[in-house]
């Protein structure tokens, strides 16, 4: 079994080391690129949302490298992500690829199936093995996220912000040469060390922006056109409302009640939206209020064109923005999004926030 999975930001870093440690052969797809997107757009269903298209591109690239089993998390509505596995299987079948899909559906779809799937991918025979393996995976995810987070912080304060990019690019390159959890951990540690050595500006208060919106677009840097780097180079401190750590904590570690931070967001969103609408619609509204309260300067909502839950969230956000006097910009992303226009909008938004802050200081 040669395992692969779609890209979602830094998840593959943890995933690769984790599954190698469990004794699988792992073939992560090459980092998403315009070639990935092009293939995805060409072969996927025309009107489906962007994540599916990129995943198709990822799968084709991995299959060509030899992968024969695809691992995917499932869901059962109301967001259409739940039907991804079926559509993707159809597309790959059309292209002549006969691959296995292992889909991890939520518990309420039948515990036996989930158990079987988990045992297969964890190479485990009983619950104890699964828990042990999961602990390791958790460590890896947390550390990978810590690096992303740290790099975002350093970039905002760094005298030369491109130094941070250089360290990260190097880190991504080195990942391909590692094998197993230990080597990965070592690499991560050395990356953290070099990040901490980056020279920082003194007496500098950066503009703070929260990134909210659809989970895939927020996490995957290729899809959001490296929004963290772009803002970082403008001296903006970026915090993301969704990271793999937050997802795992909410959906797996604290199952079924959910993590504290996410429940706080539900509570904050309540006056505006008091029920789950699927995807991360409610979390988007909650996060916006959370950042407004935390003293951030603004928030940017990211959504792939036609994302159903985020459209609902968007119509509510205009109200949130007014009530809290908190600027929120929505960026809609699809395969036609041009980088120059995108950058202009980011610059304009940061300018606006800077002016707003100056006004607040000078009265």
């Amino acid at each position: 079994m040669k395992l692969t999975f779609p890209h979602m930001g830094n998840v593959y870093i943890a995933g690769k080391a984790f599954f190698e440690e469990l004794g699988h052969e792992v073939i992560p797809p090459p980092r998403s690129s315009s070639k990935t997107l092009e293939m995805g757009t060409k072969f996927a269903q025309e009107t489906i949302c962007l994540p599916l298209k990129i995943m198709i591109g990822n799968f084709i690239e991995s299959i060509e490298k030899g992968a024969d089993t695809i691992l995917l998390t499932g869901s059962c509505g109301p967001c259409r992500y739940g039907y991804y596995s079926v559509l993707q299987k159809n597309v790959l079948w059309d292209l002549g690829y006969d691959v296995n899909f292992i889909v991890l559906d939520p518990v309420r779809e039948g515990i036996d199936k989930l158990k079987k799937n988990v045992y297969t991918i964890f190479n485990a025979n009983n619950v104890k093995d699964v828990v042990e393996a999961a602990k390791l995976g958790w460590q890896l995810i947390k550390k990978a996220d810590y690096i992303t987070d740290l790099s975002n912080k350093k970039r905002a304060y760094a005298i030369n912000s491109y130094e941070v990019d250089l360290i990260l690019d190097n880190y991504f390159k080195e990942i391909e040469n590692t094998f197993g959890a230990k080597e990965m951990m070592d690499l991560m540690d050395s990356t953290i060390e070099s990040l901490n050595k980056v020279k920082l500006k003194d007496n500098f208060t950066p503009i703070k922006i929260g990134i909210i919106g659809e989970i895939y677009t927020v996490i995957e840097p290729f899809v959001n056109l490296e929004i963290e780097r772009k803002l970082g180079h403008m001296g903006v401190l970026v915090e993301k409302s969704l990271t793999p750590t937050i997802w795992v904590e909410h959906h797996i570690k604290c199952y079924p009640i959910g993590s504290k931070s996410e429940r706080l967001k539900y509570k904050l969103a309540k006056p505006y939206m008091d029920t789950a609408i699927g995807g991360h619609g409610r979390e988007t509204v909650g996060s916006a209020i959370y950042y407004a309260r935390k003293g951030f300067d603004g928030a940017i909502q990211l959504l792939p064109l036609n994302c159903m839950p985020e459209i609902v969230a968007k119509s509510v956000l205009s109200h949130v923005s007014k009530d809290f006097e908190f600027p929120i910009m929505t960026l809609i992303i699809d395969e036609m999004t041009g980088e120059a226009g995108y950058l202009t909008r980011l610059e304009a938004f940061v300018d606006l926030l800077e002016r707003k802050r100056r006004k607040a200081v000078n009265g």
Binding site: E46, T47, V312
Partner: protein, 333 residues
């Protein structure tokens, strides 16, 4: 003076009009329905709604805007789930939120959550809550609900007895006309697929049914398939379909395709519809396999009628040639 409840003529109106109207009437509440979708309503909707939403949602905004000064309450239930373990579209669930945050100066909105995810008993609970908004006691509400459901079942029976519900919802206000309608006139059938609110809103689909009738085709819709049967077909999918509308559309379409009782399929979809992007793929594949002609009409507020006409004509011509030249006979004899 009795209270007036406004029901916008959009979205779930087409599924549940008979249920809702009877329910409110049984409670001695007047029901005001917005007029059929027209240009004015569409324009109001486009102005008020977020740009990214789909056409029926925009039109719904227009209907609410029309009603807001004419009624005491507006009925926009939050329909989360209408079947056990199944959902509706996220935009259906967030509809009251979208409306409340997009339109100013609304009268009181009755946005009771209807969630039958776990059990059907919740329907009664929701009904009582609606009654609370109208200051009616729960005993009376439950009685009104029971009565309305019986009448609603009559409506469902009529659907399955092959009456095109389009006629019911647009031309008549009650069910007594039943005997006058000829069920099948032409003997050739085209399946018009899509969400209720796209198929039954004349303005959205540019009079599609009329146009097909003029060319000598009967129109069938998935609502005519018995629910049990359509669920049976939908269960053939590799993964459980978790949208109730998806179950209806896919199951109904599969049953027509497998029975080979139709000459072709026209799928009416609103641009940006999330469910349709999935359903179209599933149905188109099946239709191709069974060699049933399939075409897709994607509609948005820019759609021109002339373009739609051309496409319908081309599709119908194609079906006629197919019959005339008998090229749909299998080469394996």
């Amino acid at each position: 003076m009795s209270k007036k409840v406004g029901i916008p003529r959009g979205m779930f109106y087409f599924d549940y009009y008979f249920l809702w109207r009877n329910f409110f009437n049984n409670l001695d509440v007047d029901v005001v329905i917005s007029p059929k979708t027209n240009k004015d309503i569409l324009n109001r909707g486009i102005e008020l709604c977020v740009d990214e939403a789909c056409l029926p949602i925009k039109i719904y905004h227009g209907h609410v805007d029309y009603l807001k000064d004419r009624v005491d309450y507006i009925f926009i239930p939050r329909i989360k789930s209408i079947h056990k373990k199944e959902y509706c579209c996220p935009k259906h669930i967030g509809l009251p939120d979208m409306i409340k945050h997009s339109i100013k100066d609304l009268p009181k909105v009755i946005d009771t959550e209807i969630n039958l995810m776990k059990s059907d008993v919740n329907l009664k609970r929701s009904a009582i809550e609606i009654g609370k908004n109208l200051e009616v006691n729960s005993y009376k509400v439950l009685k009104a609900l029971d009565k309305a459901i019986i009448e609603y079942k009559g409506f469902i029976d009529m659907l399955t007895s092959k009456i095109v519900p389009i006629d019911m919802l647009s031309k008549y206000r009650d069910l007594s006309f039943i005997t006058n309608i000829k069920k099948e006139k032409y003997g050739r059938k085209i399946l018009v697929l899509g969400h209720f609110y796209n198929v039954y809103d004349y303005y959205i689909n540019k009079d599609l049914v009329d146009k097909l009738n003029k060319r000598g085709f009967d129109v069938v819709t998935v609502e005519m398939v018995d629910e049990k049967k359509s669920r049976g077909y939908a269960s053939k999918l590799p993964k459980r379909m978790f949208w109730t509308h998806g179950q209806r559309i896919v199951g109904g379409a599969f049953s027509f395709i497998e029975e080979k009782s139709i000459s072709g399929i026209i799928y009416v979809s609103a641009f940006g519809c999330g469910l349709d992007s999935v359903l179209i793929d599933l149905i188109e594949r099946k239709a191709k396999e069974e060699r049933v002609p399939f075409t897709l009409l994607t509609l948005d507020e820019q759609t021109g009628e002339a373009g739609i006409n051309t496409r319908i004509e081309a599709f119908v011509d194609m079906i006629e040639w197919r019959n005339k030249d008998e090229i749909d006979i299998s080469t394996y004899g």
